[in-house]
Symmetry: D2
Subunit: 352 residues, 4 copies
Amino acid sequence: MIKVGIIGATGYAGGELVRILANHKAAEIIWYGSKSYIDKKYSEVYRNMFRIVEGVCRDDDLNELAGQVDVIFTATPQGFLAGLLNEEILSKVKLVDLSADYRIKNAGVYERWYGIEHKSPQFIDEAVYGLCEINRGKITERTRLVANPGCYTTCSILTAYPMVKEGLIDVDTLIVDAKSGTSGAGRGAKVQNLFCEVNENMKAYGVATHRHTPEIEEQLGYAAGREVTINFTPHLVPMNRGILVTEYASLKRKQDGSLPSYEEIKAVYDKYYGSERFVRVLERGECPETKWVEGSNYVDINFVPDERTGRIIMMGALDNLVKGAAGQAVQNMNLLFGLPEDEGLELVPCFP
Amino acid sequence: MIKVGIIGATGYAGGELVRILANHKAAEIIWYGSKSYIDKKYSEVYRNMFRIVEGVCRDDDLNELAGQVDVIFTATPQGFLAGLLNEEILSKVKLVDLSADYRIKNAGVYERWYGIEHKSPQFIDEAVYGLCEINRGKITERTRLVANPGCYTTCSILTAYPMVKEGLIDVDTLIVDAKSGTSGAGRGAKVQNLFCEVNENMKAYGVATHRHTPEIEEQLGYAAGREVTINFTPHLVPMNRGILVTEYASLKRKQDGSLPSYEEIKAVYDKYYGSERFVRVLERGECPETKWVEGSNYVDINFVPDERTGRIIMMGALDNLVKGAAGQAVQNMNLLFGLPEDEGLELVPCFP
Amino acid sequence: MIKVGIIGATGYAGGELVRILANHKAAEIIWYGSKSYIDKKYSEVYRNMFRIVEGVCRDDDLNELAGQVDVIFTATPQGFLAGLLNEEILSKVKLVDLSADYRIKNAGVYERWYGIEHKSPQFIDEAVYGLCEINRGKITERTRLVANPGCYTTCSILTAYPMVKEGLIDVDTLIVDAKSGTSGAGRGAKVQNLFCEVNENMKAYGVATHRHTPEIEEQLGYAAGREVTINFTPHLVPMNRGILVTEYASLKRKQDGSLPSYEEIKAVYDKYYGSERFVRVLERGECPETKWVEGSNYVDINFVPDERTGRIIMMGALDNLVKGAAGQAVQNMNLLFGLPEDEGLELVPCFP
Amino acid sequence: MIKVGIIGATGYAGGELVRILANHKAAEIIWYGSKSYIDKKYSEVYRNMFRIVEGVCRDDDLNELAGQVDVIFTATPQGFLAGLLNEEILSKVKLVDLSADYRIKNAGVYERWYGIEHKSPQFIDEAVYGLCEINRGKITERTRLVANPGCYTTCSILTAYPMVKEGLIDVDTLIVDAKSGTSGAGRGAKVQNLFCEVNENMKAYGVATHRHTPEIEEQLGYAAGREVTINFTPHLVPMNRGILVTEYASLKRKQDGSLPSYEEIKAVYDKYYGSERFVRVLERGECPETKWVEGSNYVDINFVPDERTGRIIMMGALDNLVKGAAGQAVQNMNLLFGLPEDEGLELVPCFP
């Protein structure tokens, strides 16, 4: 039995880790870290867990925790893990960090977009970017530190990846218009996230400045083999869960001047995702809906090539708390410990 | 492996049966009955099931089906099963009926409230009312026909049952004010259930005439040992899932004229539900919230005795598609086949 | 032109006052009091008011304000006005208080339910309870202090008033089950009011202890001519605006033992509300829906007598921010200044 | 008093016309056309109008109606008006058509995108495209036929118009990602628009094929002085009202190679909208929110130039039933009859 500790167990992503691990056959949580609720029963914070979770919230002492568990999930604010991580901790325990601290290889880029100093850049190189479908090979039993990707990022990258990797689109034209449910904003008590402010409302935010931008650019840059600069615009939508991305890019014309056909593009998507457990490329004509993946670890993807404009419209949908956070974190844990990749993740989407 | 057939597999309750059974270790669906979508892939009707369910929708031929499966779930309109059931079918297969056809022992009462003739009253006596927590003993491997309780009914009865059974309240004063999410209204294309008609809106309906009334009255009547007449008022709430009932009744005073204390009442609830897998009597002061049970088979219950008025306010919450329909149906199936009662029902409530 | 000052202009009720008064022909706001946003443009707090309201938020100095305006609306926490009010202020300006400070005639009852000391009980007697349809005669140009009723209270009282006043029900059996949209919870940044906590969720709260209870009891007591004790249970519903109450009471039988008929009861409702501008008694069989009154000052009411149980089920719906707060406050202002009662209140309900 | 007839008065756009005209001082509705509800009281179809509208629904006889009113609003399916319009009708009455029949000057384009034959192309030339802020000069008292713009179209065009007109962007790079509340889908009883299908869900639809595309292209083509081809992607969002568009285009560099500054772009927007009653260009850094315009005739617009990518992100928000349909139709009526443009449209946005 893998012993699990969670730091930040009472945020929404932490709560989702608890939900998923409750049915995981090979792992058990023994530390519910939550600075805000120390000594309170976990099920008093999340009443849905009454009689399911018996644990009590504990402090977020990373050093102590490292000696007691096999893996630590940090679902904490940016800078938290970077400020505490050291070689001793890493020598004792595996870490799956749900924050952005080790996602970006260039500490300067991190510091510019996040506006904070990176306190332990020496571990960035070692960290593996935990987008399982792309980096599966690197997430092995020898890996000590996984940087779990962001919610917007996971969806944005996976939706465009095959097209970028195969060079079918002009990456300089890539635009990502993303829409997210409100759980992505976290459980902090802010006026802007009150029910009455979000409900029956919609807006863009962080236009041209959102922190997931460089993360998407870096990963798509690896796929493209060169630097990529994109527009990424997130929007807040009045629903609890779900991210939908709509991506636009100019298709490269073939030598005969024609655009790649639907079938040719489909073959490219199938090449990358045809045997993936958690990526579903939909049937022709279907647009992904967030409800179809709710509560599950799936990403649903589809695309429409547009002869009129020469562009492709790519769409992706996932549950921001599952494949966009806790689900992918568990998927990474499974890889780290050599378990079946979908252990604990056989979650069937819940409709309606 | 138990072979399962579903008639009405593309309604919301049918869809939930499919979701739950997808992770059931001892049962597999081999017939997805849906008159409206014959020959269409099930996953084209419910896209969330893409690559999870491979089956194709088939006609609702009960006779043919009876020869192929071990148990049939009928998630069909009132009158459907009553119009088709016969001894031959019952001799071949077990039936769990999610409609009201066999819930009410008095066919006249059924006909009056439902406004249709009962076509096979000869099977009413045999049918067992499948409220597992109360009738568990009767739902055995010899039972052939289970009348799965209604969603409002399950919640309303379980919330008041211990008080009625132990004679702590004056049942003639019982009032049930119930609120339901919109999935209870079904998947039929009606103007009144359009998003824009339901969203940001709330109303009572079926006031003094709702069909779940006699079902509640009959079952509480058994508990009380005499006829019970209540007021039951359902309301439509702008959310997908969840039923909340708020029940009012006058407490009987003890011989010394005092009201029963919180502790005395709590002991009564614990007597009935203390070891129940799916009923959670909350801690003092907590009011049940539908979100705490969403997606799971739990019923959350609590109560407040009010010294000022001498009444008790009892509250219960469940997911109308799970414990209020498909979950309880699977719970009944588990009992019918001697499986662990929670097989396939280890569903953790999903929050947020 | 009536000069208006608002204390608490940036809460939801204050914001609604601003919305309504923007189209009021005889009144203009000259003071937007908001301690939290002093010196900030009002339209920066409520962006919907961009280019409609030019004012800047100011401190909540009641003394200074009293010298500058004709009427002050206080949309402030309980205890605020009671702590500041004095004879000098009252001699200069009319006050419409949207808090509970002067609603309850018995200061002891106020202190018990609200848990705070009443700092100026000497003004309680003078205050007129501003439920216009019932106390219209008392709200005259000589009145200085109006206690604007609570949102739940307005709806609960008006729905039952004719029945209580005419003695058609046994008031000891009266139960009020109330459901409210979330704007009633105010604009404070609390976790429990976050979108993800409220959305897709429903719960009762303040069971047997909610502060609107004694206010309802007092007013219905005047109607009944004796003390009234009721159960009042509020519920939180995932929508922005709207209160729906469902009330239950035993009908008194007539001398011949029969229950009053629908027509007899309807005549009683028409007697009280037939010529009321803002109370609509619906047609037989219609249940009030909150959406039908959204954004308007209407209260929609209807009832169903139930022969089976001898009870009547009464239902009422209003917009908690309009008739339940700011609309009724403006209605009171109109009465105080001898204006047409519906000036500024010709708001047509917005659907969908 | 202008006599008004509405054909299609019981759809959502028709209902909004009724709501707005209820407070219009110079117009009165004398014909509520609704084929589906002939002889039914209008307030029985829309209960919010109880005691506000006394009219009865009537047939949609355009010829008869033309003799009785001064202006007809047709809120009808595509093809309806084109199939009935003739010179006699036009000689008697002014027409504001909320359908697409006369919006597109090229009948072939209309037929291709809408898939129906245009039955009266002879009137297309005469029709004025009623986007008031752009075509105000053409909507005069001599105009007989106004083609009221689509909801997505109004928002999409107004958001980009100054940039296109002044040649500041490369129109070939323009991408419009649009999000709409569900009232835009109409009041038809379709499964896909049921509450449970839309709520907690989001999707794109009509990708690369939506009918508002050629309308946007035509109007922006006039502004650009040449043909324009764009990508337009609509999305369905779980809220009743509101459209938000996010538009992307490459900024043209100035002769010195630099991008136009925020101030330069702002000056362009102010040039076109600075004195517009219903267009609000927001302050720097503010992103439009649909809630800030709900229930009103405003369009809120803002933009962010992005140095990194050389693009501009433009955003616009409106209420699809008001500025996107009925409000603009009334604005057009006001222009047609020489009334103040905002008569009846002094609607203050409702928040929350």
